[in-house]
Symmetry: C3
Subunit: 424 residues, 3 copies
């Protein structure tokens, strides 16, 4: 008979976190230095405001987006914070390797923390696919490996194809989605297609995930514009407008597709929450080729249609045909809109370049960028999948999946009063 | 016998949204251009930070304010996002008509998006009056007509009375409140005075509406100061202080009136949530005449007393005597404090102008501004009311009012796993 | 037999708030003036953005942090707003006394409001200790006395020991914690050790307190950096990095200690919510001596270990051994990390000063700072405790503690429709 309780993580999670954290502190002690030579107060405030916005998206937005699972709210938001904190520290080290090699020290400034948080975001996207089926030990390992893969991919793109850093980072949606899908495919549990006992949705947590979704929606213009070169504020502004318009169009289109695809003409909240963000994802990937408001709006429209249709039909198909259980539908939230954005970028760039030779050269280069990204993503996803499948990490049993009780102490009535003395 | 289900919106909402959105994209393709010639990075960040704040108020603040209805949280927050996205796009077109007439193109910059969002806010205020009794098709039509009316009113005020744009926009509280009240009076449903079956409040969603309310409270200083002329930062600062002090006083006064007007000396959460904002509304309308901290505080005090008393006694009176069912009490939240602000502006301006001729001239001008606004508001509200009363929009039956189930797919256990295969 | 209902506050809270608020307005009318001579738009926006962040922390962060009590969410968030609004107005007056003495007028600028809000925060910390056991009348009195004590302490530190204002304000965690503990010790209710009937926790409000906690976590870098001298943006940046790193380390460490100290290897949400903030508290106190990333990280690590251990073992010990019932565990959230930060400051400063004479002089000065703060805090806490113990404030009975029903109107079904007419 299966054990009644989920396996204890005491001997796994505690030491792992302690080891990682003390290790990080030691590495930071020897190789990091604070970069204090900022030019002026104004530029500090600007950078800080952008950093805050991205911070809100990563910690609050992603954290509350997955709280639609009725018995999994603590895990969704708590593990998100934990993984974000570890992945950002880890990404700061990896992205600083070059400086370390050149100068022996890694400078710490707001921009590097910001880039590190965006690398961490790729791990949070992948987490969406295995959410509820993996324990925090597995999630921490996932984050470490995924961030490594993502930084490696960026280095490859910059080294081999001279892709600009901004463009490389914006592929995080595609990278994260394919990584997560490979992972959940390898970690497939028999019986998933019948649904997990505790995989439930409810009205009330629905508003919490609405909150996460709305915070992502509101701050997405910052996410896309933050790494655009500061020397051309016009471009930054363009990224803000494009993202805002695409998001507005996505919200309207998502509602429309949702009501049209429902036999009884009703809206689906979780579908809407994923799909109102599709425009932001697609414009993020295609941004540098978008110059007109209508282009951004058309991309937002197409992304929302694709994303909402994918959510409705593709998710169950993926599960049944490919044994790929995608909890938070990251394929339709990040994968498809990301690919669409990539494709829109290609089309717009070809349209804008008068010369066919330039167009073909760009197309080859653009296709290679995607191929490299997907290859690295699938490879790292496979490796991570096989690592996480080991029983040594003590994954929860099927019937403990999607259950906060597996990881969080039950808080009984008046639990903060000392139990043993209550009968005195 | 009445049908068991709410009428399906599949053939109404889907095509309407698709038509509007594709139409908007086409219009934007031909007539809009991105304005990229920003002066410097700092001014971009300033404008963007203000835009973000207003965005948070419109999407999150207004969206979560009405979630106190226990079975209506998804609709309150979801429809708010939908309507805000459409109304902003529509307002961008209407406010750009003049540029289009002059130059054939409408420039898109952060300020125009911001003004458009504030116009959209007037529609969100009116929505509060019919919330729970109208379907999303009706809400979208409401938003289109209300924004048109509001922009028309602004043009009239600027054309006829040379009212400055800022002052015109700040009348949005008065415009929205009277528009919404007329609308809900025309859409009166027999039996409202006995209360709707599903019009329930509950403790837990109460905290969500507290969240919306608190976000409005925190960001209201931005809302009032954002359109104050940038060339005089002192004035902007004055608007921030005045609003903050008025809001602080409102919070204390609202609690005081709430406990004094309750026979058993208890506070009422929904009353407090509406009335802590009264000071912000009143100072917004009277801002340009407020020069001393105590003036703002006194306005905040009077507004909170008026608003809290109105909430307690006027709401049921309006329903019984005038057949006007005002779901979110917009009369006492926006209408009365707005009128008070208008009156305070009059008094302060007369006090400050030494010359009686100037004072009388100002008074006439100020009264005309209010009369024009109320006339346009009532007229457009009546027109919209008669349009929305048509059965072709398929409004929900009385017993489906205030019920998320009428518009949102029920999400049963494990609903994202494919139903037909579960028995395999 | 005990009365069935909690005592009515109608004759206490209403008049008290009205009296305070009208008194404040009169004082502001005579002695305050708006300071409008700001240098430029950019500096206004910078100050305003910081003010907004602190506002979000005070109103939203502290307000929602204590909503983990299942039946006390309205009181936690509502009373927090009420107390913050009063305490800020009161602190503005007290911190302006010097200007009033010199010039007869108190200037009102964003920085003074910001400092006032931080003084108010010290009262919100103390409130955490008596939350659920005190009525709003008592909380308002607590806030007035605590803010007075805190401003007095700052004056003493500046006058006697020439402590810089920033350093004085950052002691708010220590001041607030000791004030609150003394208070709850004096207000001890017999039977507390058996737990209160309504002192319950629940899963769903848990996410609201997660929200408050996460907002504090995200905006804490602003809280610590906001008062650092603007003329050295590098230092401000340093405060931001240090706080961010300490918070990230705290989050990881808190999870680790939580899982290690649980017999079944599970995490405790409320413990995590308190302890992820420990790093921010400790770095806030020690900030001016932290120059390396690893120092901040090590402080964050130690603070989280101390805070999590304190939460687990000290809270019940305090209750049983010292009759000190600390609802929100402010000793381990603010007190211990604050003391640790103080100690880290001492060590770092001694390490950095080559000269032993300088080191000893600093140590004496630093120890005196702490002694003065704790003395003032304990004295004011004792005074406040004896004042609040009077029955004239009508504290709730034991069985009405931790119960929203004692202070908030029950909102029955359709309560906003007029009751007396419902049978017509």
């Amino acid at each position: 008979m299966a054990p009644r309780y989920a396996p204890s993580l005491r001997s796994r999670l505690g030491p792992l976190l302690l080891f990682l954290q003390t290790g990080f502190i030691l590495i930071y002690a020897f190789y990091f230095e604070i970069q204090e030579n900022v030019v002026d107060e104004a530029s500090f405030r600007d950078a800080y405001a952008e950093f805050q916005d991205v911070n809100v998206m990563v910690v609050l937005g992603f954290g509350f987006l997955c709280t639609f699972l009725v018995r999994h709210g603590f895990s969704s938001s708590g593990f998100n914070l934990l993984v974000a904190a570890i992945a950002t520290q880890w990404a700061l080290m990896l992205t600083g390797l070059e400086s370390w090699y050149d100068r022996g020290k890694i400078p710490l400034d707001l921009r590097s923390v910001l880039v590190a948080e965006m690398c961490a975001a790729s791990a949070l996207i992948s987490m969406g696919a295995v959410m509820g089926k993996a324990n925090p030990v597995q999630l921490v390992l996932l984050a470490l490996l995924e961030v490594s893969g993502f930084v490696l991919n960026e280095q490859l793109l910059q080294g081999l194809l001279k892709v600009r850093p901004l463009k490389g980072i914006m592929l995080l949606h595609i990278f994260g989605a394919f990584f997560g899908l490979t992972l959940t495919w390898i970690l497939y549990r028999k019986g998933s297609e019948r649904g997990f006992e505790k995989e439930k949705f409810d009205q009330k947590p629905g508003l919490f995930s609405m909150l996460g979704s709305v915070f992502l929606w509101m701050f997405w213009p910052t996410f896309n514009s933050v790494l655009v070169d500061d020397r051309f504020p016009g471009r930054k502004l363009g990224a803000v407008y494009s993202t805002y318009l695409a998001l507005a169009v996505s919200a309207v289109t998502a509602a429309s597709v949702s009501v049209l695809s429902s036999p009884r003409g009703k809206l689906n909240l979780i579908q809407m929450q994923s799909c109102i963000l599709a425009g932001g994802v697609a414009v993020g990937v295609s941004m540098s080729a978008v110059h007109q408001p209508w282009e951004a709006m058309a991309i937002g429209f197409a992304a929302a249609v694709l994303s909402a249709t994918g959510f409705k039909y593709l998710k169950s198909h993926m599960l049944l045909a490919f044994h790929c259980h995608d909890t938070a539908a990251i394929l339709s939230t990040h994968g498809l809109p990301g690919l669409l954005g990539w494709f829109a970028h290609l089309i717009l760039q070809i349209k804008d370049s008068g010369d066919p030779t330039v167009a073909i050269r760009f197309a080859v280069f653009h296709i290679c960028t995607l191929l490299v990204t997907i290859t690295v993503s699938l490879t790292m996803g496979t490796l991570t999948g096989f690592l996480l499948r080991l029983n040594v990490w003590r994954p929860p049993q099927n019937r403990k999946c999607f259950d906060d009780q597996a990881f969080w102490e039950e808080v009984p009535t008046g639990s903060n009063t000392p139990k043993p003395y209550r009968l005195l």
